[in-house]
Symmetry: C3
Subunit: 154 residues, 3 copies
Protein backbone atom coordinates (compact mmCIF):
# COMPACT_ATOMS: atom_id res chain seq x y z
CA UNK A 1 0.00 0.00 0.00
CA UNK A 2 2.77 2.43 0.93
CA UNK A 3 4.57 1.49 -2.30
CA UNK A 4 1.43 2.31 -4.28
CA UNK A 5 0.85 5.67 -2.65
CA UNK A 6 4.54 6.60 -2.90
CA UNK A 7 4.69 6.10 -6.67
CA UNK A 8 4.87 9.46 -8.45
CA UNK A 9 2.59 8.25 -11.25
CA UNK A 10 -0.07 7.25 -8.73
CA UNK A 11 0.29 10.58 -6.96
CA UNK A 12 -0.27 12.36 -10.28
CA UNK A 13 -3.33 10.18 -10.97
CA UNK A 14 -4.64 10.90 -7.50
CA UNK A 15 -4.15 14.66 -7.95
CA UNK A 16 -5.84 14.91 -11.34
CA UNK A 17 -8.66 12.52 -10.44
CA UNK A 18 -9.43 14.61 -7.36
CA UNK A 19 -9.33 17.82 -9.43
CA UNK A 20 -11.76 16.61 -12.11
CA UNK A 21 -14.07 15.11 -9.46
CA UNK A 22 -14.05 18.37 -7.49
CA UNK A 23 -14.89 20.22 -10.71
CA UNK A 24 -17.76 17.80 -11.25
CA UNK A 25 -18.93 18.20 -7.64
CA UNK A 26 -19.36 21.94 -8.31
CA UNK A 27 -21.92 21.27 -11.05
CA UNK A 28 -24.60 20.21 -8.54
CA UNK A 29 -24.55 23.49 -6.57
CA UNK A 30 -24.29 25.39 -9.89
CA UNK A 31 -27.50 23.71 -11.06
CA UNK A 32 -29.06 24.64 -7.72
CA UNK A 33 -27.93 28.25 -8.10
CA UNK A 34 -29.58 28.55 -11.52
CA UNK A 35 -32.73 26.79 -10.28
CA UNK A 36 -33.07 29.28 -7.41
CA UNK A 37 -32.22 32.44 -9.37
CA UNK A 38 -34.28 31.45 -12.43
CA UNK A 39 -37.12 30.03 -10.32
CA UNK A 40 -37.19 26.81 -12.31
CA UNK A 41 -37.67 23.72 -10.19
CA UNK A 42 -38.24 20.06 -10.95
CA UNK A 43 -39.99 19.13 -7.67
CA UNK A 44 -43.19 20.67 -6.22
CA UNK A 45 -41.59 20.72 -2.73
CA UNK A 46 -38.70 22.82 -4.10
CA UNK A 47 -41.06 25.26 -5.83
CA UNK A 48 -43.03 25.51 -2.59
CA UNK A 49 -39.93 26.32 -0.54
CA UNK A 50 -39.12 29.22 -2.86
CA UNK A 51 -42.60 30.64 -3.42
CA UNK A 52 -43.73 31.03 0.18
CA UNK A 53 -47.51 31.19 0.49
CA UNK A 54 -48.14 32.28 -3.10
CA UNK A 55 -50.11 29.37 -4.56
CA UNK A 56 -49.81 30.63 -8.13
CA UNK A 57 -46.03 30.93 -8.01
CA UNK A 58 -45.78 27.35 -6.77
CA UNK A 59 -47.10 26.17 -10.11
CA UNK A 60 -45.26 28.76 -12.18
CA UNK A 61 -41.91 27.83 -10.64
CA UNK A 62 -42.35 24.19 -11.65
CA UNK A 63 -40.77 24.52 -15.07
CA UNK A 64 -37.67 23.88 -17.13
CA UNK A 65 -35.25 26.71 -17.89
CA UNK A 66 -32.75 26.59 -20.72
CA UNK A 67 -29.86 27.79 -18.54
CA UNK A 68 -30.61 25.12 -15.91
CA UNK A 69 -30.81 22.45 -18.63
CA UNK A 70 -27.49 23.65 -20.06
CA UNK A 71 -25.72 23.16 -16.71
CA UNK A 72 -27.37 19.75 -16.35
CA UNK A 73 -26.17 18.64 -19.80
CA UNK A 74 -22.65 19.79 -18.92
CA UNK A 75 -22.84 17.82 -15.66
CA UNK A 76 -24.05 14.75 -17.54
CA UNK A 77 -21.19 15.02 -20.04
CA UNK A 78 -18.79 15.14 -17.08
CA UNK A 79 -20.25 11.91 -15.69
CA UNK A 80 -20.07 10.19 -19.07
CA UNK A 81 -16.39 11.10 -19.52
CA UNK A 82 -14.93 11.30 -16.02
CA UNK A 83 -16.17 7.82 -15.01
CA UNK A 84 -14.16 6.13 -17.83
CA UNK A 85 -11.14 8.32 -17.05
CA UNK A 86 -11.10 7.25 -13.39
CA UNK A 87 -11.56 3.55 -14.16
CA UNK A 88 -9.20 3.30 -17.12
CA UNK A 89 -6.77 5.77 -15.52
CA UNK A 90 -6.33 3.57 -12.44
CA UNK A 91 -5.69 0.50 -14.58
CA UNK A 92 -3.29 2.59 -16.70
CA UNK A 93 -1.30 3.60 -13.59
CA UNK A 94 -0.95 -0.09 -12.70
CA UNK A 95 0.70 -0.76 -16.10
CA UNK A 96 3.64 1.28 -14.73
CA UNK A 97 3.80 3.95 -17.47
CA UNK A 98 6.56 6.57 -17.62
CA UNK A 99 5.86 9.58 -15.38
CA UNK A 100 6.05 12.18 -18.15
CA UNK A 101 3.74 10.21 -20.47
CA UNK A 102 1.26 9.64 -17.66
CA UNK A 103 1.35 13.32 -16.67
CA UNK A 104 0.72 14.27 -20.30
CA UNK A 105 -2.41 12.12 -20.38
CA UNK A 106 -3.71 13.40 -17.05
CA UNK A 107 -3.00 17.06 -17.84
CA UNK A 108 -4.61 16.84 -21.27
CA UNK A 109 -7.70 15.16 -19.82
CA UNK A 110 -8.12 17.61 -16.93
CA UNK A 111 -7.48 20.59 -19.22
CA UNK A 112 -9.98 19.26 -21.74
CA UNK A 113 -12.69 18.88 -19.09
CA UNK A 114 -12.13 22.38 -17.67
CA UNK A 115 -12.15 23.87 -21.18
CA UNK A 116 -15.28 21.84 -22.04
CA UNK A 117 -17.12 23.22 -19.01
CA UNK A 118 -16.22 26.83 -19.84
CA UNK A 119 -17.10 26.31 -23.52
CA UNK A 120 -20.45 24.81 -22.51
CA UNK A 121 -21.45 27.42 -19.97
CA UNK A 122 -20.31 30.65 -21.67
CA UNK A 123 -21.15 29.26 -24.39
CA UNK A 124 -18.45 29.38 -27.06
CA UNK A 125 -19.49 28.88 -30.69
CA UNK A 126 -19.01 25.34 -31.96
CA UNK A 127 -16.80 23.43 -32.66
CA UNK A 128 -14.95 24.72 -29.55
CA UNK A 129 -16.89 22.56 -27.09
CA UNK A 130 -16.83 19.54 -29.41
CA UNK A 131 -13.06 19.71 -29.81
CA UNK A 132 -12.61 20.21 -26.06
CA UNK A 133 -14.59 17.03 -25.46
CA UNK A 134 -12.75 15.11 -28.22
CA UNK A 135 -9.29 15.78 -26.75
CA UNK A 136 -10.21 14.33 -23.36
CA UNK A 137 -11.98 11.41 -25.00
CA UNK A 138 -8.83 10.67 -27.03
CA UNK A 139 -6.64 10.79 -23.91
CA UNK A 140 -8.85 8.17 -22.24
CA UNK A 141 -8.77 6.00 -25.37
CA UNK A 142 -4.98 6.23 -25.48
CA UNK A 143 -4.74 5.00 -21.88
CA UNK A 144 -7.20 2.16 -22.62
CA UNK A 145 -5.02 1.10 -25.57
CA UNK A 146 -1.99 0.74 -23.29
CA UNK A 147 -3.99 -1.16 -20.65
CA UNK A 148 -5.16 -3.73 -23.21
CA UNK A 149 -1.77 -3.89 -24.98
CA UNK A 150 0.15 -4.63 -21.78
CA UNK A 151 -1.97 -7.66 -21.03
CA UNK A 152 -5.42 -9.14 -21.48
CA UNK A 153 -7.26 -12.07 -19.97
CA UNK A 154 -10.48 -12.68 -21.81
Amino acid sequence: MSELINSEVFLAYSTYTTIVLLKMLLMGPLTGYFRVTRKAFANPEDARAHSGKDEENRKKYLRTDHEVERVRRCHQNDLENIVPFIGIGLLYVLTDPGLSTALLHFRIFAGSRIFHTIAYLVPFPQPARGLGWLVGWGATLSMAYRVLKIGMHL
Copy 2:
Protein backbone atom coordinates in the same frame (compact mmCIF):
# COMPACT_ATOMS: atom_id res chain seq x y z
CA MET B 1 -2.64 -6.97 -1.95
CA SER B 2 -3.31 -8.93 1.21
CA GLU B 3 -1.98 -5.96 3.18
CA LEU B 4 -4.47 -3.70 1.38
CA ILE B 5 -7.47 -5.96 1.97
CA ASN B 6 -6.48 -6.58 5.58
CA SER B 7 -6.38 -2.90 6.49
CA GLU B 8 -9.39 -1.99 8.65
CA VAL B 9 -9.80 1.37 6.90
CA PHE B 10 -9.96 -0.33 3.51
CA LEU B 11 -12.46 -2.86 4.84
CA ALA B 12 -14.65 0.02 6.05
CA TYR B 13 -14.36 1.74 2.65
CA SER B 14 -15.24 -1.53 0.94
CA THR B 15 -18.28 -2.04 3.17
CA TYR B 16 -19.73 1.44 2.76
CA THR B 17 -18.95 1.64 -0.96
CA THR B 18 -20.79 -1.65 -1.50
CA ILE B 19 -23.74 -0.43 0.60
CA VAL B 20 -24.20 2.85 -1.30
CA LEU B 21 -23.75 1.08 -4.66
CA LEU B 22 -26.33 -1.55 -3.69
CA LYS B 23 -28.69 1.24 -2.71
CA MET B 24 -28.08 2.84 -6.11
CA LEU B 25 -28.62 -0.50 -7.87
CA LEU B 26 -32.11 -0.64 -6.36
CA MET B 27 -33.11 2.60 -8.11
CA GLY B 28 -33.24 0.92 -11.54
CA PRO B 29 -35.82 -1.74 -10.54
CA LEU B 30 -37.70 0.96 -8.58
CA THR B 31 -37.98 3.04 -11.76
CA GLY B 32 -39.16 -0.09 -13.55
CA TYR B 33 -41.74 -0.76 -10.85
CA PHE B 34 -43.22 2.73 -11.21
CA ARG B 35 -43.12 2.51 -15.01
CA VAL B 36 -45.10 -0.73 -14.94
CA THR B 37 -47.63 0.25 -12.25
CA ARG B 38 -48.14 3.78 -13.64
CA LYS B 39 -48.08 2.56 -17.26
CA ALA B 40 -45.58 5.23 -18.26
CA PHE B 41 -42.90 4.01 -20.63
CA ALA B 42 -40.13 5.68 -22.58
CA ASN B 43 -39.81 3.07 -25.35
CA PRO B 44 -42.56 1.89 -27.76
CA GLU B 45 -41.41 -1.74 -27.32
CA ASP B 46 -41.95 -1.42 -23.54
CA ALA B 47 -45.42 0.10 -23.99
CA ARG B 48 -46.24 -2.72 -26.41
CA ALA B 49 -45.15 -5.43 -23.96
CA HIS B 50 -47.54 -4.02 -21.34
CA SER B 51 -50.54 -3.18 -23.50
CA GLY B 52 -51.02 -6.50 -25.26
CA LYS B 53 -53.00 -6.17 -28.45
CA ASP B 54 -54.65 -2.86 -27.54
CA GLU B 55 -53.31 -0.44 -30.17
CA GLU B 56 -54.61 2.65 -28.38
CA ASN B 57 -53.00 1.78 -25.06
CA ARG B 58 -49.63 1.37 -26.80
CA LYS B 59 -49.66 5.07 -27.57
CA LYS B 60 -51.23 6.13 -24.28
CA TYR B 61 -48.59 4.27 -22.25
CA LEU B 62 -45.77 6.15 -24.00
CA ARG B 63 -45.69 9.06 -21.61
CA THR B 64 -43.84 10.62 -18.70
CA ASP B 65 -45.17 10.27 -15.17
CA HIS B 66 -44.16 12.57 -12.34
CA GLU B 67 -43.50 9.68 -9.93
CA VAL B 68 -41.27 7.91 -12.47
CA GLU B 69 -39.38 11.16 -13.13
CA ARG B 70 -38.93 11.65 -9.38
CA VAL B 71 -37.26 8.24 -8.98
CA ARG B 72 -35.09 8.98 -12.03
CA ARG B 73 -33.94 12.31 -10.61
CA CYS B 74 -33.10 10.58 -7.32
CA HIS B 75 -31.11 7.94 -9.23
CA GLN B 76 -29.28 10.67 -11.16
CA ASN B 77 -28.39 12.48 -7.94
CA ASP B 78 -26.97 9.19 -6.64
CA LEU B 79 -24.76 8.86 -9.70
CA GLU B 80 -23.56 12.46 -9.41
CA ASN B 81 -22.59 12.03 -5.77
CA ILE B 82 -21.62 8.36 -5.36
CA VAL B 83 -19.13 8.41 -8.26
CA PRO B 84 -17.01 11.15 -6.58
CA PHE B 85 -17.32 9.36 -3.22
CA ILE B 86 -15.95 6.09 -4.64
CA GLY B 87 -13.07 7.75 -6.51
CA ILE B 88 -12.03 10.22 -3.83
CA GLY B 89 -12.78 7.67 -1.06
CA LEU B 90 -10.31 5.16 -2.50
CA LEU B 91 -7.59 7.80 -2.78
CA TYR B 92 -8.44 8.91 0.77
CA VAL B 93 -8.00 5.36 2.09
CA LEU B 94 -4.53 5.30 0.49
CA THR B 95 -3.52 8.39 2.49
CA ASP B 96 -3.67 6.09 5.55
CA PRO B 97 -6.21 8.08 7.64
CA GLY B 98 -7.11 7.13 11.21
CA LEU B 99 -9.80 4.44 11.39
CA SER B 100 -12.25 6.48 13.45
CA THR B 101 -11.95 9.55 11.20
CA ALA B 102 -12.37 7.42 8.09
CA LEU B 103 -15.39 5.63 9.56
CA LEU B 104 -16.92 8.99 10.45
CA HIS B 105 -16.63 10.13 6.81
CA PHE B 106 -18.03 6.86 5.39
CA ARG B 107 -20.91 6.66 7.87
CA ILE B 108 -21.90 10.28 7.32
CA PHE B 109 -21.81 9.84 3.54
CA ALA B 110 -23.79 6.59 3.52
CA GLY B 111 -26.31 7.98 6.03
CA SER B 112 -26.71 11.14 3.98
CA ARG B 113 -27.42 9.17 0.78
CA ILE B 114 -29.99 6.91 2.45
CA PHE B 115 -31.68 9.93 4.05
CA HIS B 116 -31.58 11.80 0.72
CA THR B 117 -33.33 8.90 -1.03
CA ILE B 118 -36.10 8.71 1.58
CA ALA B 119 -36.51 12.50 1.59
CA TYR B 120 -36.74 12.49 -2.22
CA LEU B 121 -39.20 9.63 -2.56
CA VAL B 122 -41.62 10.33 0.33
CA PRO B 123 -41.12 13.39 -0.29
CA PHE B 124 -40.21 15.44 2.78
CA PRO B 125 -40.73 19.22 2.64
CA GLN B 126 -37.58 21.13 1.76
CA PRO B 127 -34.90 21.85 2.97
CA ALA B 128 -34.74 18.25 4.31
CA ARG B 129 -33.56 16.74 1.01
CA GLY B 130 -31.20 19.63 0.31
CA LEU B 131 -29.52 19.31 3.70
CA GLY B 132 -29.29 15.54 3.31
CA TRP B 133 -27.46 16.04 0.03
CA LEU B 134 -25.22 18.78 1.47
CA VAL B 135 -23.92 16.61 4.32
CA GLY B 136 -22.73 13.85 1.97
CA TRP B 137 -21.28 16.42 -0.43
CA GLY B 138 -19.32 17.95 2.46
CA ALA B 139 -17.97 14.55 3.57
CA THR B 140 -16.63 13.94 0.03
CA LEU B 141 -15.07 17.43 -0.04
CA SER B 142 -13.42 16.80 3.32
CA MET B 143 -11.83 13.57 2.01
CA ALA B 144 -10.68 15.38 -1.17
CA TYR B 145 -9.03 18.05 0.99
CA ARG B 146 -6.95 15.42 2.79
CA VAL B 147 -6.00 13.68 -0.48
CA LEU B 148 -4.65 16.93 -1.95
CA LYS B 149 -3.05 18.05 1.34
CA ILE B 150 -1.10 14.79 1.79
CA GLY B 151 0.56 15.16 -1.60
CA MET B 152 0.08 16.56 -5.07
CA HIS B 153 1.87 16.10 -8.37
CA LEU B 154 0.57 18.59 -10.91
Copy 3:
Protein backbone atom coordinates in the same frame (compact mmCIF):
# COMPACT_ATOMS: atom_id res chain seq x y z
CA MET C 1 1.76 -3.08 -6.88
CA SER C 2 3.49 -5.56 -9.17
CA GLU C 3 1.81 -8.37 -7.23
CA LEU C 4 -1.55 -6.73 -7.87
CA ILE C 5 -1.05 -6.24 -11.59
CA ASN C 6 0.41 -9.74 -12.00
CA SER C 7 -2.63 -11.46 -10.53
CA GLU C 8 -4.66 -13.19 -13.25
CA VAL C 9 -7.95 -12.20 -11.60
CA PHE C 10 -6.94 -8.56 -11.61
CA LEU C 11 -5.85 -8.81 -15.24
CA ALA C 12 -9.27 -10.23 -16.12
CA TYR C 13 -10.99 -7.42 -14.18
CA SER C 14 -8.80 -4.87 -15.96
CA THR C 15 -9.61 -6.36 -19.38
CA TYR C 16 -13.38 -6.50 -18.91
CA THR C 17 -13.58 -3.12 -17.17
CA THR C 18 -11.72 -1.53 -20.08
CA ILE C 19 -13.99 -3.29 -22.59
CA VAL C 20 -17.25 -2.13 -21.00
CA LEU C 21 -15.89 1.40 -20.52
CA LEU C 22 -14.78 1.54 -24.17
CA LYS C 23 -18.25 0.38 -25.17
CA MET C 24 -19.72 3.16 -23.04
CA LEU C 25 -17.29 5.70 -24.53
CA LEU C 26 -18.73 4.92 -27.97
CA MET C 27 -22.21 6.03 -26.89
CA GLY C 28 -21.21 9.72 -26.84
CA PRO C 29 -20.09 9.82 -30.50
CA LEU C 30 -23.11 7.67 -31.40
CA THR C 31 -25.41 10.29 -29.85
CA GLY C 32 -23.51 12.94 -31.79
CA TYR C 33 -23.90 10.96 -35.02
CA PHE C 34 -27.69 10.77 -34.59
CA ARG C 35 -27.90 14.44 -33.60
CA VAL C 36 -26.06 15.48 -36.77
CA THR C 37 -27.86 13.12 -39.20
CA ARG C 38 -31.31 13.73 -37.65
CA LYS C 39 -30.64 17.46 -37.19
CA ALA C 40 -31.80 17.35 -33.58
CA PHE C 41 -29.69 19.44 -31.23
CA ALA C 42 -29.99 20.42 -27.60
CA ASN C 43 -27.88 23.61 -27.78
CA PRO C 44 -28.50 26.69 -30.00
CA GLU C 45 -24.77 26.88 -30.81
CA ASP C 46 -24.87 23.29 -32.12
CA ALA C 47 -27.94 23.99 -34.27
CA ARG C 48 -26.19 27.10 -35.59
CA ALA C 49 -23.05 25.17 -36.55
CA HIS C 50 -25.15 22.75 -38.62
CA SER C 51 -27.62 25.17 -40.21
CA GLY C 52 -25.18 27.69 -41.67
CA LYS C 53 -26.81 31.06 -42.33
CA ASP C 54 -30.35 29.71 -42.47
CA GLU C 55 -32.09 31.43 -39.55
CA GLU C 56 -35.20 29.26 -39.75
CA ASN C 57 -33.27 25.98 -39.65
CA ARG C 58 -31.45 27.15 -36.52
CA LYS C 59 -34.74 27.05 -34.66
CA LYS C 60 -36.05 23.94 -36.38
CA TYR C 61 -32.91 21.95 -35.53
CA LEU C 62 -33.33 22.70 -31.81
CA ARG C 63 -35.54 19.74 -31.05
CA THR C 64 -35.63 16.26 -29.55
CA ASP C 65 -35.59 13.19 -31.76
CA HIS C 66 -36.75 9.77 -30.62
CA GLU C 67 -33.65 8.00 -32.02
CA VAL C 68 -31.33 10.44 -30.25
CA GLU C 69 -33.26 10.00 -27.00
CA ARG C 70 -33.04 6.22 -27.38
CA VAL C 71 -29.23 6.32 -27.61
CA ARG C 72 -29.14 8.68 -24.63
CA ARG C 73 -31.29 6.34 -22.52
CA CYS C 74 -29.00 3.44 -23.45
CA HIS C 75 -25.96 5.52 -22.46
CA GLN C 76 -27.61 6.43 -19.16
CA ASN C 77 -28.37 2.77 -18.43
CA ASP C 78 -24.70 2.02 -19.05
CA LEU C 79 -23.66 4.63 -16.51
CA GLU C 80 -26.14 3.34 -13.94
CA ASN C 81 -24.88 -0.24 -14.26
CA ILE C 82 -21.20 0.04 -15.22
CA VAL C 83 -20.34 2.35 -12.31
CA PRO C 84 -21.46 -0.26 -9.71
CA PHE C 85 -19.68 -3.02 -11.67
CA ILE C 86 -16.36 -1.15 -11.62
CA GLY C 87 -16.58 -0.24 -7.92
CA ILE C 88 -17.89 -3.57 -6.63
CA GLY C 89 -15.75 -5.51 -9.15
CA LEU C 90 -12.53 -3.99 -7.83
CA LEU C 91 -13.50 -4.82 -4.24
CA TYR C 92 -14.47 -8.32 -5.39
CA VAL C 93 -11.02 -8.85 -6.96
CA LEU C 94 -9.45 -7.92 -3.62
CA THR C 95 -11.39 -10.72 -1.89
CA ASP C 96 -9.15 -13.10 -3.88
CA PRO C 97 -11.88 -15.09 -5.69
CA GLY C 98 -11.09 -18.12 -7.85
CA LEU C 99 -10.07 -17.21 -11.40
CA SER C 100 -12.81 -19.21 -13.13
CA THR C 101 -15.57 -17.82 -10.87
CA ALA C 102 -14.30 -14.28 -11.37
CA LEU C 103 -14.06 -14.74 -15.15
CA LEU C 104 -17.63 -16.07 -15.15
CA HIS C 105 -18.88 -12.91 -13.42
CA PHE C 106 -16.92 -10.56 -15.70
CA ARG C 107 -17.89 -12.35 -18.91
CA ILE C 108 -21.56 -12.49 -17.96
CA PHE C 109 -21.54 -8.79 -17.08
CA ALA C 110 -19.73 -7.67 -20.26
CA GLY C 111 -21.88 -9.94 -22.42
CA SER C 112 -25.04 -8.62 -20.77
CA ARG C 113 -24.04 -5.00 -21.42
CA ILE C 114 -23.19 -5.64 -25.08
CA PHE C 115 -26.44 -7.55 -25.57
CA HIS C 116 -28.39 -4.80 -23.77
CA THR C 117 -26.94 -2.15 -26.09
CA ILE C 118 -27.85 -4.11 -29.22
CA ALA C 119 -31.32 -4.92 -27.85
CA TYR C 120 -31.86 -1.23 -27.05
CA LEU C 121 -30.65 0.19 -30.35
CA VAL C 122 -32.13 -2.31 -32.85
CA PRO C 123 -34.59 -2.49 -30.88
CA PHE C 124 -35.55 -6.07 -30.00
CA PRO C 125 -39.09 -6.69 -28.65
CA GLN C 126 -39.28 -6.85 -24.90
CA PRO C 127 -38.43 -8.66 -22.63
CA ALA C 128 -35.10 -9.14 -24.48
CA ARG C 129 -33.59 -5.85 -23.29
CA GLY C 130 -35.00 -6.26 -19.79
CA LEU C 131 -33.52 -9.73 -19.41
CA GLY C 132 -30.17 -8.53 -20.82
CA TRP C 133 -30.08 -5.84 -18.16
CA LEU C 134 -31.18 -8.23 -15.39
CA VAL C 135 -28.34 -10.70 -16.02
CA GLY C 136 -25.64 -8.03 -15.64
CA TRP C 137 -27.41 -6.59 -12.60
CA GLY C 138 -27.43 -10.05 -11.00
CA ALA C 139 -23.71 -10.56 -11.69
CA THR C 140 -22.93 -7.30 -9.89
CA LEU C 141 -25.18 -8.29 -6.97
CA SER C 142 -23.43 -11.67 -6.73
CA MET C 143 -20.03 -9.97 -6.49
CA ALA C 144 -21.38 -7.54 -3.86
CA TYR C 145 -22.61 -10.50 -1.81
CA ARG C 146 -19.11 -12.01 -1.72
CA VAL C 147 -17.52 -8.64 -0.83
CA LEU C 148 -19.83 -8.22 2.19
CA LYS C 149 -19.62 -11.91 3.18
CA ILE C 150 -15.79 -11.94 3.25
CA GLY C 151 -15.68 -9.09 5.72
CA MET C 152 -17.52 -5.99 6.87
CA HIS C 153 -16.62 -3.06 9.07
CA LEU C 154 -19.68 -0.95 9.76
